[in-house]
Every structure is written in structure tokens, then in C-alpha cells.
């Protein structure tokens, strides 16, 4: 460990504690109906939230819409937020539920034949950029698989955190991620994209 390790570690921990105390204060004020405090919470988490939801629903415009729905739901659910987990962890759970519901509603729309504006179908898969290819493959996966991949590789959660987040056991979460990766690889290989990650 470098000589300055301990003081820096202490500073970092102290900063983290200060931040979380501040957030707890904001949550308490927002819970009491203080919308300015809630606005501060939104500002602190909105970029992360939209990024997570873009990974889960695909288009950024849809992600922003789902993010707003998530935040509205969170506001009214604040009285039930016990503070056992961080605000972000709690918000992530609401966001993934909202994303799941959004996907289900969208599928219902597709079944009834009213096709919503979708990601443009790429003309040549080989020409796809890595991000486009990634999103096309994610769009093709069932929601639980997509969610598992996003929680692991975008949110960088541990397997135990994924299990807690999705409400399934640890071994079930590992199995879900394994199957998600298998299906992902199969579709990705079918696109014929040059391996950007390799």
C-alpha cells in the first residue's frame, strides 16, 4: 500500500459517509413532501438512471419516458423506503420493474398490430457499430436475460446483488446469466459483427 493509502482511504470513507448522510436527509425531506429535495435526488441519479434504462429498453427516448415513470413511482413510494439499502439500489429495483412492465406493454402493442416506432432495422450487420450491434442483440433477448446481462456488465453488480435485485436465488441468478450469455453469443455470432471486444 502506498504511504498515503490510509489517510486517503479515511478521506474517501468520510466523504462517502457525508454524501450518504446528505442523501438520507434529502430522502427524509422528500418523504415529507419537499419536492425541492426530491428534485435534488433526481439530479443526482438521472444520468445513471437513463443509462441503465437505455440498456434495458433500447431507445433513449423510451428510456427517458420510463425513467420519469420510475421517478414518479419512487416519489410516491418514498414512505416505504426503509433505508436498509442505498437510495440508488432501491431506485434500481423500481426501474427494472418499470422496464419490465414497459417491455410487456410494448409486446402487447405489437400483438395487436400497432407497431410502434422501433430501432431501424440495420441494412448490413457487418457495418454495424459495436454499440448498435449490442443493442440489436439485447433487443432480441427475453427481458430477464437482458436484465441479467445489464445488471452484471453495465451496473457491475455481484451475482449475489443480482440475485437480491431480481428476487431469485443465487444459483438461479447464475443459471440465468449463463443462459443469457449463451443466447447473446448465438445471436451476436449470427450478426457477423467484427469482434470489437476481442
Amino acid at each position: 500500500m502506498p504511504p498515503l493509502g490510509a489517510p486517503w482511504a479515511f478521506f474517501s470513507v468520510a466523504l462517502g459517509v457525508a454524501r450518504s448522510v446528505d442523501e438520507r436527509t434529502l430522502v427524509r425531506r422528500a418523504r415529507a413532501g419537499d419536492t425541492a429535495a426530491f428534485a435534488q435526488l433526481v439530479e443526482a441519479h438521472q444520468s445513471w438512471l437513463v443509462n441503465l434504462l437505455t440498456a434495458l429498453v433500447g431507445r433513449r427516448a423510451d428510456a427517458e419516458d420510463v425513467a420519469q415513470g420510475t421517478l414518479v413511482k419512487a416519489y410516491y413510494a418514498l414512505p416505504r423506503f426503509r433505508g436498509d439499502a442505498s437510495f440508488r439500489t432501491w431506485l434500481r429495483r423500481i426501474a427494472t420493474n418499470e422496464a419490465f412492465n414497459w417491455r410487456r406493454r410494448r409486446r402487447e402493442v405489437l400483438v395487436t398490430g400497432e407497431r410502434p416506432p422501433d430501432r431501424p432495422v440495420p441494412s448490413g450487420y457487418a457495418a454495424l457499430e459495436a454499440l448498435d450491434a449490442l443493442m440489436v442483440v439485447l433487443d432480441s433477448l427475453p427481458y430477464p436475460y437482458r436484465e441479467a446481462l445489464v445488471l452484471r456488465h453495465v451496473e457491475e453488480l455481484s451475482m449475489q446483488q443480482i440475485a437480491d435485485q431480481t428476487g431469485i436465488g443465487l444459483s438461479a441468478a447464475k443459471m440465468r446469466l449463463k443462459r443469457a450469455r449463451e443466447q447473446f453469443v448465438e445471436v451476436y455470432r449470427g450478426l457477423g459483427v467484427v469482434d470489437e471486444a476481442g
Binding site: 428534485a39 437513463v50 437505455t54 414518479v72 452484471r152 456488465h153 453495465v154 471486444a197 476481442g198
Partner: protein, 94 residues
């Protein structure tokens, strides 16, 4: 593209998803105003019931049900005949 032997699967996926991981850093979001507008619009809706009130009503309903169940467990509510209730059968009627 299959993760090869030299490159563990975990690492391969991690590298592939890097673009999504860092997307938030490149593109911010500003939902504060629109979210607050949505909150106001929702509360202006006459059908809207604030969740706090909803919670109070649920709690009251749960207490009534608990009280009723406790009564039933103790042998049921004692019913006293009201003014319009039929009178109990007399000895002759039995």
C-alpha cells in the same frame, strides 16, 4: 467472436459492454423539470388519491378485519336482539 481460451468469458462481455457502461458519462440527462411536471399533473387529476391517504385507509381496513377475526375466534359476536328482531321462541312454541 466467441470468447476464446485466452480470454475468459467474463472479461469478453465486460469489454463488449464498456460502451453502454460509459454512455452516461458522454450523455447527461435532465429530467428534473419534466418529472416534477408529471408529479403535478398526476396530483391535479381528480381520480388521484395520494398514496399516504391510500395507506391510511388500507391500515384502517386491516384493523377492522383484525378486530373482526379476533371476535370470531372468541366465539363470534354476541348479538343482542334489536327492536325489529323476532323474539326468541316461547316454551309453547318449542
Amino acid at each position: 467472436m466467441k470468447p476464446d481460451d485466452q480470454r475468459p468469458e467474463e472479461e469478453w462481455f465486460h469489454a463488449l459492454f464498456a460502451t453502454l457502461r460509459h454512455a452516461a458519462e458522454r450523455q447527461g440527462a435532465d429530467l428534473t423539470q419534466t418529472t416534477l411536471e408529471r408529479l403535478r399533473a398526476r396530483e391535479d387529476d381528480p381520480r388521484f388519491m395520494p398514496p399516504r391517504l391510500d395507506g391510511v385507509l388500507r391500515e384502517m381496513a386491516a384493523q377492522v378485519v383484525d378486530a373482526w377475526l379476533a371476535l370470531v375466534r372468541r366465539g363470534g359476536p354476541r348479538s343482542k336482539p334489536g327492536p325489529g328482531s323476532p323474539s326468541p321462541p316461547t316454551e309453547d312454541e318449542r
